[in-house]
């Protein structure tokens, strides 16, 4: 059922003398929610920035569906079907939901050489996406500035979907949200996976991770120290993996 979408092999990232990532091997599968966990500074954001094309890796390679890829900009990553929702959402509060979803790649028709917006098509498309995500937003013409934090996450997810993203990366999407909104965003995350998208989710909230993730990967000091199926592990084990108290992690760190 789940197919491998992206393989990261032996990824390393050095910032000058600082090694932010080393020897990271990771597989990302379509239809699966993969959670990245780890302490502050473990290298999670650095890793997803490499996936998003925002940083070039110092070492290692990315393979998408069997083909090696090299990203020089976020646009390259987007062209390969990778959409990243950064924590500070890049939405324009003064524009409508539909306009935001299409911003930068509007549907247009040329009349006398002038590109005119296909406003009706865009609205219908966004209406469909919002319904599909069950985002509880009735009016795609509403300005994004009038939406709640969770609804804005939904708009950002729509934007990713509209890109026909095969992989959606979310860096701490629920960090600033209240309980009810968090529920909705988590449900959206599941729905993305159900659509066949690969999802990578970064979170510091372990119970939240158990609610949505199929697989859990733990980073520690720039290395991947553990990978577990969510069904095969529990809250305590994950905490000990993150803090380094787990015997596996200790053994690993001794050999290095």
């Amino acid at each position: 059922m789940t197919e491998t979408f992206l393989v990261a092999r032996n990824i390393a990232k050095r910032f000058g003398a600082l090694t932010a990532l080393a020897n990271v091997d990771l597989e990302i599968r379509s239809g699966e929610v993969l959670a990245l966990l780890g302490d502050n500074g473990a290298g999670k954001s650095t890793f997803i920035k490499i996936l998003a094309g925002a940083h070039p890796p110092s070492d290692g390679e990315l393979v998408i569906e069997g083909h090696p890829v090299a990203f020089h900009s976020p646009k390259d990553a987007a062209a390969s079907g990778i959409a990243t929702i950064f924590q500070e959402l890049a939405l324009s509060e003064n524009l409508s939901i539909a306009e935001n979803v299409f911003l930068g790649r509007e549907l247009k028709r040329s009349i006398f050489g002038i590109p005119f917006l296909k406003r009706k098509e865009m609205r219908q498309r966004v209406d469909g996406l919002l319904k599909e995500l069950d985002a509880h937003i009735s009016d795609p013409e509403a300005p994004v500035g009038s939406l709640s934090g969770g609804q804005r996450q939904a708009v950002a997810i729509c934007r990713a979907l509209n890109l026909n993203a095969r992989l959606v990366i979310m860096d701490e999407p629920t960090a600033a949200l209240a309980v009810a909104e968090t529920r909705k965003v988590l449900a959206l995350t599941r729905r993305l996976a159900a659509r066949g998208c690969a999802v990578v989710l970064i979170s510091h909230n372990i119970s939240e991770v158990f609610e949505v993730a199929d697989r859990i990967v733990v980073f520690r000091r720039g290395r991947k120290v553990a990978e577990r199926l969510a069904a095969d592990t529990n809250h305590e084990e994950v905490v000990s993996l993150i803090t380094g108290a787990h015997p596996d992690v200790r053994a690993l760190e001794k050999t290095n």
Partner: protein
């Protein structure tokens, strides 16, 4: 409700702010008619409309600039330079066709210069255009050599005083300019990009918008509109004086923010700009007729700017600025 409606903007659809501007215009007309016997004449109405032509054209461009989070305080002198170019061409051979081409051309060229400084040079628009204002002022002085350009041939005046399709040419040109700017703003990707940049340049860039290109083009559009304004200026007065355009930028900025365009960018109203220009010109003309010296006109404009911004600060507490702060 209002906020949502703002996004479905029709060509002439009006919100509360715009209706109140219209009421203010009518109210001013009634008050001045009572106060001065010379006010309510068809001749004076024509004067007010005549005096609004340049400001309407420049105001459309200024609306785009402010909506984008930009500004151009040198725009009045840009019109002066374009007027000098038109005057020279007209004075040389009296050919109005050439004069019509030269205005927008010089405007576009100066728009490119402003864009080069502000957009490519990454100088904040207020600072960059203030610097250019100083340069252009001296350029006007040097070009005119301390003398007025006067007694220009009437060929251009005659051409622009005609009617086309039963409508006076200036009204027709303004209508076409309004429609073109409205279409660009509300019906093309360019308009969305401009408003996104006005909201946040960084977010616009992350969304894949060609920020530099959009900003550059907008300064050029403003320049072209200003060049067309210069054409009407020369046609009307048939002279160019040293102080040409010195209060135009202030008037344009006042009219535009009076019309509901945000000084912080991201939100604008074209119909508001039109009404703002008319209100400003009605007030200036009316005060003159009831005996207030023209010396006081910039005071009226200044007080209007401060009044509008102060009123907005108190009543809305700058909703956009607040949003921005909350999300920063």
């Amino acid at each position: 409700m209002n906020a949502v409606r703002q996004f479905g903007n029709g060509v002439f659809s009006m919100n509360g702010r715009e209706w109140s501007l219209l009421v203010a215009c009518l109210l001013a007309i009634v008050i001045f008619s009572v106060a001065s016997p010379h006010y309510a004449t068809s001749g004076n109405a024509a004067t007010v409309l005549r005096n609004s032509v340049e400001l309407l054209l420049i105001g459309l461009g200024m609306t785009l600039l402010l909506a984008m989070g930009g500004i151009d305080v040198s725009i009045g002198i840009v019109m002066g330079l374009a007027a000098i170019a038109i005057g020279r061409v007209l004075g040389a051979d009296g050919n109005p066709a050439l004069a019509i081409i030269v205005g927008p051309l010089v405007g576009a060229l100066l728009g490119c210069v402003t864009a080069a400084v502000v957009v490519l040079g990454r100088v904040p628009a207020i600072v960059g255009t203030l610097g250019l204002l100083g340069v252009y002022r001296t350029a006007v002085f040097v070009l005119l050599g301390g003398q007025w350009l006067s007694g220009l041939p009437s060929s251009l005046t005659n051409l622009l005083a005609t009617t086309a399709l039963g409508v006076p040419v200036p009204a027709l040109v303004i209508a076409v300019a309004y429609l073109a700017v409205w279409l660009a703003l509300r019906r093309t990707p360019y308009g969305l990009h401009l408003l996104a940049i006005g909201n946040s340049e960084e977010k616009a860039r992350l969304s894949g918008i060609p920020v530099i290109k959009v900003r550059f083009i907008t300064f050029v559009i403003s320049g072209v509109l200003t060049g067309i304004a210069a054409m009407f200026y020369v046609a009307t007065y048939r002279n160019v004086e040293m102080t040409i355009g010195s209060t135009l930028a202030l008037d344009a900025i006042a009219a535009v923010i009076l019309g509901g365009t945000s000084i912080l960018g991201g939100r604008c109203s074209l119909i508001g700009t039109v009404l703002g220009v008319l209100l400003l010109r009605i007030l200036q003309n009316g005060l003159l007729l009831i005996g207030v010296p023209s010396l006081w006109q910039p005071v009226v404009t200044g007080v209007l700017i401060i009044g509008v911004l102060g009123f907005e600060a108190v009543s809305n507490r700058f909703p956009l600025a607040q949003l921005r702060r909350a999300r920063a």
